[in-house]
Amino acid sequence: MAKRQDFVVRFAGEGGQGVVTASEALARIAADVGYHALTFSTFPSQILGGPTWTQARISTTPVLSPGDSVDVLVALNEEAYETHKEDLSEDGVVIYDSSFTPNSSGRMFGMPFDDLAKQAGDIRTANMVMMGALANLVGMPVKFLQDFIVNRYLSRGQAIVDANMKAIAFGVERAASTTFQIGELEPPIKPNYKQAMIRGNDAISIGALAAGLDVYVGYPISPATPILIYMERNLIGSGKFAYQSSSEIESIAAIVGAGYAGKKAMTATAGPGFTLMGEGIGLAWMAEIPCVIVNVQRGGPATGLPTKTEQSDLMTALTPAHGDQLIPIIAPGTVEECYYGGALAINWAERYQGPVVLLSEHSLAERVQNIPKPDLSQIVPEVRATYQGTNGYQRYDGYELSPMPVPGKPGAYVANGSEHDAMGDTTHLPSRHIQMTTRRFSKLKLLEENVYERENTDAPIAVMPWGGSKGPAMEAYERLKAQGTNLAWYYSMRINPLPPKLLEELRKKELVLVPELNYLGQFASFLRSHGVNAQAITQYTGLPFRPKDLVNRIKDAASAASRKAVSV
């Protein structure tokens, strides 16, 4: 039998049982030895306790989705077992805590994690008991685990190292005594480049900082809070400012104020906060003030599903406020793109002098993944065109972008949210409204960049996911390709403006299938309004797509379309 390319381990229990640490540790260990790893978690909305599960997918090649099913389920209590057993793959194995006895049998065995940890000398090593058992089940050399322990804990004393070693041994022993195996994992191909193990939210933060962020103002909200916390801790140098606001309305107005004053400014929020920011975003568009709004999407509408993932804020992000506008949007699809997207958003805002929305989502925000170490040298922070003259300047002159005066220097004007003349004074002249509207939209051209992914472009039917659905869609696409299905692949994290050449290509397709996590098929609808025959493949469960579901749904949609094409 061929060796496995990847496996998924899910840890399920109560919040507070170390479930999150377990999967992150597993991911970290796997990455350390050269595998590719990616975690996925959903939390209950309660603070302590509550049913919690997280998983790690370990693979020999880079993967971008949580996968289809679970190969090893570590169930810390009966409820966890009952909830998750149906997600097990065919040859999946359950390791359960001996505190309960599952009411069925099969490929499963129990272990007293805590007892064994205590025997090993430290109750906190229960994790490593699991890890040992896992290593045995998937045929991962125990040496990797042991090296990890030494690296991590030696500084805290030999006793801790020893306890962990013992814990691992107990785990290995118990698993070895069963006959189960889930298939040996191929050995890792250790990447020859430097790597970082990072969460989507942190990647956005660092990307923005790499592009020169000066000011951050945000209000706590799941799943965007980690960006606030990152900034509060790190954005503190001279000329820098990070602050928790009293509301999202304050956040957006504050970054508009900072952007006006010459600073690169950003906020991050989730749906409810984003909606509250609408008026301020409209102001930034109208008064032509650079600023970046990160919306880490969660399930909506209203307070919605704060700890679940969804891609249902696109329509609102395009026109968050009344009046004519179409806000530039970047939607990263991977943790790596969170970094580059964060930087690009800052650059776009400076370049076109207006608000830019970065649409991330819960599943990316909380995902820990090893990626090539972000390349700081690839980010060229753009510097806004500023007025350098000595006076008499008309800030809003003409039908295109013009340099922006900076308070404290010559060029005083009124940044104005009412329609205005060239110096920023309020006016209602039709000719001015025409000029300024044209001017505001003309600037979007500066953001048209023909950067996107394309593959097998001759196929009449294309798959084009957006945002966090990229991973599962790509995996589905690869499988369909392997099955011989003729499909084109397109992907762009630039959502608005879309790369013009991409749009041209899409318009020529018979059908463009858009997997997206919402009810309305929001991106597909946006594409249709651009003259693309797009059709959404939707899901609204609060969870990411599973590649295997997408395989089926893409296949069905594609063949329905072909049948229709024939019968016409």
Binding site: K194, A196, V256, G257, Y260, A261, L283, G408
Partner: protein, 288 residues
């Protein structure tokens, strides 16, 4: 930013109190700039939406920067501008509706932060620009276009409000004495911290209360304003509390806190305490 711009299409009504406030602000800005030898363009005026906010377009002479944004959001815009650029002198100009109704939520947080911004509030007890609806400072029972049978809620005492939330400099002014008012505004700008100069600035069209304010001896009308007594200790919070709860409205400096650091000072102090890591160093934390 000049009354002579032919495209600019707004004018205050004859007699509007805001003319005096504009004049006072011009005095204050000029004196402030010449005293500190700083250019006029290092001042930023953040204006609310209302007749009052149009002040930002009407300043005569050398021009400060301006921001005329959306209704009720002067303070958060000023907050971002000031904390991004502590070197700027940031002044808020807004009406009673803009600042105390839709914008009310933003006042207390800036007081708590002691943001170093000076606010000039033009209180005419009415929504002027939308043509005469009641505002938070309109008295109970008053008939306006939106309270045809009399206003059903009590008025807010703005000075008491500012005091209770810890605004660190509070002055009360009157639009008809631009020189005096200019001094109050200048004092507010000089104050290191969050300052509010709350100005009685009558609306001749929808709430002409000049007579009540100044009084009219012939008609036997007593003025409802009085000068803050000389002996008032502006650093005494309890004395200020008494003053703002008096039967009539005091004009002058009501309160000034001493020794409260501003938010930018606290931030500067923090920078001294904490090690700043470069982005490169931050990234290394995640590298393995």
């Amino acid at each position: 930013m000049t009354s002579k711009n032919p495209e600019y299409d707004f004018k205050w009504c004859p007699g509007c109190g805001d003319f005096g406030v504009r004049r006072a602000l011009e005095f204050a800005l000029q004196d402030f700039c010449s005293y500190h030898e700083r250019p006029m363009n290092s001042n930023v005026i953040v204006a609310g939406i209302g007749c009052s906010g149009n002040l930002v377009h009407l300043v005569e002479g050398e021009q400060p920067y301006g921001f005329h944004g959306i209704h009720g959001r002067t303070l958060p815009i000023a907050f971002g501008a000031k904390m991004g650029r502590p070197d700027l002198n940031v002044v808020v100009v807004a009406g009673d509706g803009d600042f105390l109704s839709i914008g009310l939520e933003h006042v207390a947080p800036q007081a708590a932060r002691n943001l170093d911004v000076c606010c000039v509030i033009m209180d005419n007890g009415v929504y002027g620009l939308t043509k005469g609806q009641s505002s938070p400072t309109t008295d109970l029972g008053v008939i306006t276009s939106s309270t045809p049978y009399g206003k059903l809620e009590s008025d807010l005492n703005p000075l008491d409000y500012y005091l209770s939330i810890g605004v660190s400099f509070i002055a009360s002014g009157y639009s008809s004495k631009p020189k005096d008012l200019g001094k109050l505004i200048q004092a507010g700008m000089e104050h290191k911290g969050f300052s509010i100069v709350h100005v009685l600035s009558p609306c001749t069209t929808y709430n002409d209360n000049y007579e009540q304010l100044k009084g009219n001896a012939k008609k036997g009308i007593e003025p409802i304003i009085f000068d803050v007594p000389k002996e008032h200790d502006i650093h005494d919070r309890e004395a200020a509390h008494k003053l703002v709860n008096a039967a009539k409205i005091p004009i002058g400096v009501i309160y000034q806190a001493q020794g409260r650091p501003t938010l930018d000072q606290r931030l500067e102090d923090l920078r001294g305490r904490v090690k700043v890591r470069s982005v490169q160093e931050q990234l290394e934390v995640f590298v393995f």
